[in-house]
Symmetry: C2
Subunit: 710 residues, 2 copies
Amino acid sequence: MQWVKVLGGLVGASALLGLGIILGRFAIPKGADAPAPGVSVSQDLDLEILETVMKQLDASKIRENLRELSREPHLASSPRDEALAQLLLHRWRDPESGLDAAEAPTYEVLLSFPSRERPNRVAVVGPTGTILFSCRQSEQNLTGEQGGPDVVPPYAAYAPPGTPQGLLVYANRGTEEDFMELQTQGIRLEGTIALTRYGGTGRGAKAVNAAKHGVAGVLVYTDPADINDGHSSASQTFPNSWRLPPSGVERGSYYEYFGDPLTPYLPANPSSFRLNPDTVPGFPPIPTQPIGFEDAKILLCQVNVSVHNRLELRNSSNVLGIIRGAVEPDRYVLYGNHRDSWVHGAVDPSSGTAVLLELSRVLGTLLKKGTWRPRRSIVFASWGAEEFGLIGSTEFTEEFFSKLQERTVAYINVDISVFANATLRAQGTPPVQSVIFSAAKQIPAPGLDGLSIYDNWIRYFNRSSTAYGLVPSLGSLGAGSDYAPFIHFLGISSMDIAYTYDRSKTSARIYPTYHTAFDTFGYVDKFVDPGFSSHQAVARTAGSVLLRLSDSLFLPLNVSDYGETLRNFLQAAQRDLGVLLEQHSISLGPLVTAVEKFEGAAAALGQHVSALQKDTPDPLQVRMLNDQLMLLERTFLNPRAFPEERYYSHVLWAPRTGSVATFPGLANACSRAMNTSLGSAAWAEVQRQLSILVVALEGAAATLRPVADL
Amino acid sequence: MQWVKVLGGLVGASALLGLGIILGRFAIPKGADAPAPGVSVSQDLDLEILETVMKQLDASKIRENLRELSREPHLASSPRDEALAQLLLHRWRDPESGLDAAEAPTYEVLLSFPSRERPNRVAVVGPTGTILFSCRQSEQNLTGEQGGPDVVPPYAAYAPPGTPQGLLVYANRGTEEDFMELQTQGIRLEGTIALTRYGGTGRGAKAVNAAKHGVAGVLVYTDPADINDGHSSASQTFPNSWRLPPSGVERGSYYEYFGDPLTPYLPANPSSFRLNPDTVPGFPPIPTQPIGFEDAKILLCQVNVSVHNRLELRNSSNVLGIIRGAVEPDRYVLYGNHRDSWVHGAVDPSSGTAVLLELSRVLGTLLKKGTWRPRRSIVFASWGAEEFGLIGSTEFTEEFFSKLQERTVAYINVDISVFANATLRAQGTPPVQSVIFSAAKQIPAPGLDGLSIYDNWIRYFNRSSTAYGLVPSLGSLGAGSDYAPFIHFLGISSMDIAYTYDRSKTSARIYPTYHTAFDTFGYVDKFVDPGFSSHQAVARTAGSVLLRLSDSLFLPLNVSDYGETLRNFLQAAQRDLGVLLEQHSISLGPLVTAVEKFEGAAAALGQHVSALQKDTPDPLQVRMLNDQLMLLERTFLNPRAFPEERYYSHVLWAPRTGSVATFPGLANACSRAMNTSLGSAAWAEVQRQLSILVVALEGAAATLRPVADL
């Protein structure tokens, strides 16, 4: 049989009969400067190494990282932000504990800042124009950290400049419904200043909704009921507790989309085509300013709002570091967080960066010692300008679209690592559920003698799974942090991991000093996580997930868990939309079939995996299987599904505005079609969305079936 | 070193030191019913097998195939078309010479047919309405094959019904310029019937251009100067020569786009969302009818055109067959052609299908004997309804978008295999040039004692390459056959292979009986390729290309050949657009840099390949490299680059309307901006197109660089 050919001439019969182990000297990438021990293409997760990493992740080192990271305010593109980029670069290039390579590429992006010379102002004015009262222009200097020149005054990034004046109208959360309600009550909105509170809708949406009713300016304050469980006095708030002080103001980006506003779908390189800033969509249409609750309760009558924000093109850095894979260097596990903060940003984002640095130190040390090198490449990222709209991460996905989409196994995001000390909380797409569970089961929950993170987690967040019974519930990914471009634009399985609240103890919308000058190291050290054991728990969980993804021979992505999501979405559609659709002669039958096909293909693939795992599989065969697992998430992307929703192409996780908890395209199209007549364009769109969905699910099932099936 | 772990416990030190050969029993796909001999993951192209295949490809068998395929008319979705689908299925399921599996899935697509009851009619009418002359309603029955009930009368598919009547105006080729010229001459076009000749622009475009000027109906004829080198008498034409008889009429689709008109971007499954046929874009706006030159020269004065075409939803089958890959079953080499014809379609498309069947017979026989199984999977396809607009292939790419994009190595199209006997001609994207050259160098040109196909080819089509000197020139791919959705929509490296004319002997626009009832077996057997040696030559060339792609350990796709295209496009831009761009402060600098980066990365990768080939490489390492080669073409896709151009997303091969032979997006945007003012939206579009291009080329270079580079 002449087709059994061998390239070299050195192969004896015994080697032919030998097991599938290859002394793969070609698998060691060039330029790997750490000792490169012999490599086995069957290299798998090493539980001893995993244990070593878990042990070495050190709470006190995370605390020291956080102290340094949050020592000074480090607003995106500020000198301190750049200095921290250098700090990361320095750590990742350390000869004892660094990575294989690290870089800090820069984008030129459009940010928005208040004017130093003409501070934004909110004042109550009398009938003759006399100023009766002025809101604070900065937070009270309670710990000596709120007074420096680098503390950016509270402002609404991307709100346009202007000095509207008018009667104050309280507009609750500034939703569309809130303004309709005011109109129903006969309240004239034209030319008024709307006072709104945070929550209920996006920041920018408040100004968009207000402007539709002729409102001239918007104020946004943080209500003690929403953030402090009702407490508001100085003695009950920071620095006496973790609660927000009366002068605290939540800053934030009021831009509607994400990414650099001038370069959608293009990296913000200096030569890239830029939109005209005067006509770019997504900025608030009217002057907007955030204030503290101390001031909010005083405001009366005629209010004058002076906003002097300016748009500026700035250079913002990402920092990237890599540990090259020993066997499959072209498969990337990404782990990232942003670096920029509004002020000191101890919780947001430095609690995540402190963990990131500890994890990279421990892995870097094992690497430099020659003890370990992962099977796949690990890429660490410190993103710039996230607070202005996930800008650094989005530009990165735009620049390396093809490479990332072809090769990325998963993206792990740890932004705020610790909101509070009660429990783990994780968001992600279904394929990552199993690997997070595996990790969480083997790590002790801090302070709960013997209870695992998993066992503790299930006490706080749980659901009944048809496949597994009671399990911790994984949240779904919105667009709240840097995972957004990875999941929505690239279709990469993503997750976000943190420690969080006991909801029976607080109803705070988020940790109280969020985006204020009170989010400092002392705040974390004293109130959020004294002892840093929750930080350590997150480091261990995320670190274990990372290692499992980078080192396991078989990718620990359980694609059949998507079946449960699809089934739930389908049932909601049948229950809440079935009759309506039937009335319009639209059948859910093809969708039912597609979901069934997906379930069948996923189950069969699962059995195939189990069978392979029992034996000593050929690494090429495992690679083919892993490609199916890795690329499943990509099959749900359709760049033509939602042409008006910038970046959102994932047909399962695009934003849902319709009230039925089902497939977003279907939910939204139905909600728009609901009150239109039979045969309307809106009903045609329902049918189009249904077809898009069916094709995506059928296509997904096709990629899970045996690869040589027709 | 505890990380050198082995899953099983059977591995001795000798196996660890053994060479990289794996007894990959898992690599043999389940369900492969042919004998599955032991498989080596290093399995490479076997030159003896290649030689065997070349020898066994039999001209007389191709002739027999063609006789059967073209025995009866087989218009898309007709009973005979379905019978041929069954014939293919039967052949591909043959126990002696069939494939591993074959299927014939069906789509429900919108086709257009003339009415049987009310034949289309073109008549000259007198002032009182008397018919002075009527054009033929069918071709003359010259060989006994033009008279049957299955010979569809000449018509313009998708032209709307209607009975316009008006003065006849000769409008040359019906281009925009032709109608402008008539207008300049003061000729009133409103309400006229335009007589146009084939060529110069697309079929449908003639009616679109005419309607803009108020023309009421369009006739299209074939001019003897364009098709018969001027000859037109009965004695000089078929059946006395290969030339078109006076009564011959070219049929064709007048639809502007491709794919099923009702389901753009969706497979035409019964449940798929469909557009309203009354408002679907892309159909000719006015009644249109093709006629023969015999009638064209008689037409005078007032003409009445009656078109009674009807749109019908029809079932149309693709036939698919697979030979499962032994080592990498998840990598597909696709080989296809359409099956449907306008009438008997001996040349178009049966000359290609006859070759396809012979190739699948020879490979199937080796497979069933257990002599051979390819390294990668081979998929054969017989597409339905191509003549109506590449419908079967397009629906297939829409249905299996993700799977095909992830796994397809290349698409080989052989539609008309023999236009004439002079020389090979090939079209394709640059990565396929080298594999076609390799094949063509080793196959003798028919009838040219000792001269290879390559040596003969270079005499007819050649160019001077900076890298190689004088080489045969590869044409670029338009949208003339089923490769279009593969290259433009999926970004899969594609090619089209045929034997063709000596242009010094004929200036015929295409072979004369194209799309007429005279394209019969006798025509091929007597005039096109007596002895079928050109058919055999194409079978060998395409077969060799197929085997090289399916069996070579290293994929024979030379990505660095793209560098030459980019450099040529760049030079044209610099030469012909540079000054204009500079005047508008647009720099080509970033594009120059991007091209240089591409060249550098491609050259380095080439060296890496050469180095690896000298040794006995690890198959996983080769797989990673092959993924880079396979996926390069995908990096040039941007679904947001040309939103108005349906399916076209390839930034290098989208349709170019601008006159400069450079990157199409840039050429078109410049040509539109040319006469607009500084700062216009058209000039912003030029900058946007330039950025899209730079990002695509930078992204392409990034995928060619070492996979673990940051």
